[in-house]
Structure formats: structure tokens, C-alpha cells
């Protein structure tokens, strides 16, 4: 097998799966917390990653949630659940000065995902902002709910279904 003599600059590096054996390298103490749990702005976020076969359980899935300065990385447990401590990001605008509803980028990496799945988490207490958000407006009415976290007592819940009837809306990147 011979390699191409030279590759032009526009041949970008393709994605490959995370695999299941990343934990010892990518997880570290506190990686799942954007801020301390006792911070007044702290929100507990839980969710479950599933595919057509059920929960994507430990060790197979890693989830990152972030927006600029805010970033956290977690891993699903035996039930396919992830746990984060997050905060709601501040207001943002598009380059056309259109207001955006507060959101977090959510990326799911897993064994069997040859490239990560990218979705966005919106906040349930931002109905007015969500209703005017230009990204949510791109999503079919009957699917938009999959991008809005649900209040679950004091916590927020955001389940991610990779494939199946309840499949989450994912974005191209």
C-alpha cells in the first residue's frame, strides 16, 4: 500500500471513533463541572444517551457540553446516564445582530460514532427567547422539543437519542 506522494492543504483530517478505552486519558477530577455545585448559578444537568438498542452505557460514550468559557466533559454510567454541573450562558447574537436564545453545544462521542454527533441544549425557562431563536426556527415544529431541556425538580434533564423514534435533532458541522 503506497501513500499519496503529497496531500494538498484542503485534504482535512477525517474523524474516527473515540473507541471505548479513552477514560484513563480524557477524564479528570472535576471534568464534569463547569462550576462548583454550591455556586448560586450552578444547575445540575442529567441525561441519558441511547441508541436503537437502548442505553449507551459505560464505557462507550463521552459527552461534552460547552459554550465559550464554559466547558465540561462527562462519561455515561452503567445506565447510560451523564451528570454535569452547568450554568446558563449569557446572551449572544449572530453576526447580523440577531439575538440567540441561551444554549449549550452538546457533542456526543462514542464507540460506533465515526464522527461526533452535535446538538444544542436550550433552556426550558426561556420560552420567549426560544420562540424567537433563529437556530430553533430551522428545526421542524414537532422535533424542536428534543432540543429543549426538561425541568426535573431542581435539575434539568436532556436525553440524547442517537437513533430511533425519539431521535434527537443533530446539526451538520
Amino acid at each position: 500500500m503506497s501513500l499519496s506522494e503529497s496531500l494538498s492543504d484542503d485534504v482535512t483530517s477525517p474523524s474516527q471513533t473515540l473507541g471505548p478505552l479513552y477514560g484513563f486519558a480524557l477524564m479528570f477530577e472535576g471534568s464534569e463541572k463547569m462550576l462548583e455545585r454550591d455556586d448560586p448559578a450552578a444547575i445540575e444537568l442529567v441525561g441519558r444517551v441511547t441508541d436503537a438498542g437502548g442505553p449507551v452505557a459505560w464505557p462507550e460514550a463521552m459527552v461534552e457540553v460547552w459554550n465559550g468559557e464554559l466547558w465540561a466533559r462527562g462519561r455515561t454510567d452503567e445506565a447510560g446516564e451523564f451528570h454535569f454541573v452547568i450554568r446558563k450562558p449569557g446572551p449572544e447574537h449572530t453576526t447580523d445582530a440577531e439575538p440567540l436564545a441561551p444554549y449549550l453545544n452538546v457533542m456526543v462521542f462514542a464507540r460506533g460514532l465515526l464522527k461526533h454527533a452535535y446538538t444544542r441544549l436550550y433552556f426550558p425557562d426561556e420560552s420567549a427567547a426560544n420562540a424567537g431563536d433563529p437556530v430553533l426556527a430551522l428545526v421542524d415544529d414537532d422535533l424542536r422539543h428534543s432540543l429543549i431541556a426538561q425541568a426535573d425538580g431542581e435539575r434539568l434533564r436532556f436525553d440524547v437519542c442517537l437513533q430511533g423514534p425519539e431521535e434527537t435533532v443533530f446539526f451538520e458541522y
Partner: protein, 232 residues
């Protein structure tokens, strides 16, 4: 902002030769974000990931010498316009010289090396350069009855923005297992796979000695900030 369309070299989500994708691949149409402004979305900040000055040398993390062939994997992180991507975090993980990961989820077919963990981190310099000194990883079958995967180093990097987030694998020139590997072969364009294969470089091989290394060149190319994927 001007945008340029570039080819997408990523594999598809669904690639049945890699069986688990059949139940895991998102199946609905992906929603495209508006061109022109989504790339300006702020990328993740990784200041909380601890990076020490010697974290890019995986051969000196323990008291003794690890077993195996020392290698240096070095290159640059560039964007598709040929510009350097400086100050970006790379995290790597790999097997030891026997094909075992330290991870508790490893099936444990092969022995661990008390002098090798197989995890490293570095930040690219102003020219986008990085260098890892490590041990050549080994092929391994992931499960009982599984096929051998080619030797590889897993690599995660953040890049300058949302479009730069990449998790991939570095393969090695001359590894015959690459052409039989479903994960590597999921890349539809041969040039894309070639991009992931590190090239042996005899010019930079180190003179003989107990810790001498052979060198591989491996560049990483991220989508440029003004580039958007072509519509398919």
C-alpha cells in the same frame, strides 16, 4: 463573511462493516446551520485541562523505561487554508507495546507495562507544531473473536472554533492491517485516510542509544474558519 466550500473527508455515520454503527448512527437529516455566522460561535476553552511541560513525553512518566520501540510523532496543526493553528490542545491515548490499554474497560488480553500509561497532552506552538515522544502502540483485537486493529494513537483536539473539534486516530505507514480495518476504511476518500497515516521519516531518526527513537511525520488539517462543508 466570505465562505468557501470545501470537500468533507469525514466518514459517514452509517458504515455497516463497522457493525455497531447500524444501531448507533443518527438516521435523520442533519440540520445545516446558517452559513456565515455559525463558525463564529465560540469554541470550547480548555484552560481547565491540566497540561504539564513534559506531558508530551510518554516515555518518562514512570521510574523505569517502558518496553517497546520509542517513536516521535511530530507535525503541525494547520487549517485548510494552510494557516498554522497555534495554542490548541491535543490529547492522545494509546496501547502499550503489547496492545493493552491502562483503561479499566480494556479486556485484559495482554500484559500491562508498569512503566507506561499511554496518555499524553500538549499545546501547539506559535507555528502550530507539536511533538509526542512515546512507544509504538501495537495492533490488538478488541474483543474475543474480533479482528486485529492496526496500531494507532487516538488523538483529540479542539481547534480554533466549533468546526475544529476533532477526535481521530493516527495510523502508521506500512501497517498492513489498515486496509482490513473497518474503522479506517470507513473514510470514503483515499486521500482522507492518507491524511491519518503518519509517515516514517528516516532523515530525523535518532542515532543509536538506549532511548533512541524513530520518527514519524503527521500533520493534522482542520477545516478553515471560513470554510463550510459542501452540500451533498
Amino acid at each position: 463573511m466570505a465562505t468557501a466550500e470545501i470537500e468533507d473527508f469525514n466518514p459517514p455515520y452509517l458504515f455497516p462493516d463497522y457493525k455497531i454503527t447500524v444501531q448507533r448512527a443518527p438516521s435523520k437529516r442533519l440540520v445545516p446551520l446558517p452559513k456565515g455566522w455559525f463558525h463564529t460561535a465560540k469554541g470550547p476553552v480548555f484552560g481547565r485541562v491540566p497540561v504539564g511541560p513534559t506531558d508530551n513525553d510518554l516515555t518518562i512518566q514512570h521510574a523505569g523505561r517502558p518496553i517497546g520501540q520509542r517513536i516521535v510523532v511530530e507535525g503541525r496543526v494547520l487549517d485548510s487554508d494552510g494557516r498554522a493553528v497555534p495554542n490548541t490542545l491535543l490529547e492522545i491515548w494509546q496501547t502499550n507495546a503489547c496492545g493493552a490499554y491502562v483503561d479499566p474497560a480494556d479486556p485484559g488480553f495482554f500484559p500491562l507495562d508498569p512503566n507506561f500509561t499511554g496518555a499524553g497532552r500538549t499545546i501547539t506552538d506559535i507555528e502550530g507544531r507539536f511533538s509526542f515522544r512515546t512507544i509504538k502502540p501495537a495492533p490488538y483485537p478488541g474483543v474475543i473473536g474480533g479482528t486485529f486493529r492496526p496500531a494507532h494513537i487516538h488523538v483529540s483536539l479542539f481547534g480554533p472554533g466549533m468546526a475544529g473539534r476533532l477526535v481521530t486516530q493516527c495510523y502508521f505507514e506500512g501497517d498492513h492491517l489498515i486496509k482490513h480495518d473497518a474503522i479506517a476504511q470507513s473514510i470514503p476518500d483515499r486521500r482522507g485516510l492518507d491524511r491519518l497515516i503518519a509517515r516514517f521519516n528516516y532523515d530525523t531518526i535518532e542515532p543509536g542509544g538506549p532511548d533512541c527513537a524513530v520518527h514519524y511525520d503527521w500533520d493534522i488539517v482542520l477545516r478553515g474558519p471560513e470554510a463550510t462543508p459542501m452540500e451533498h
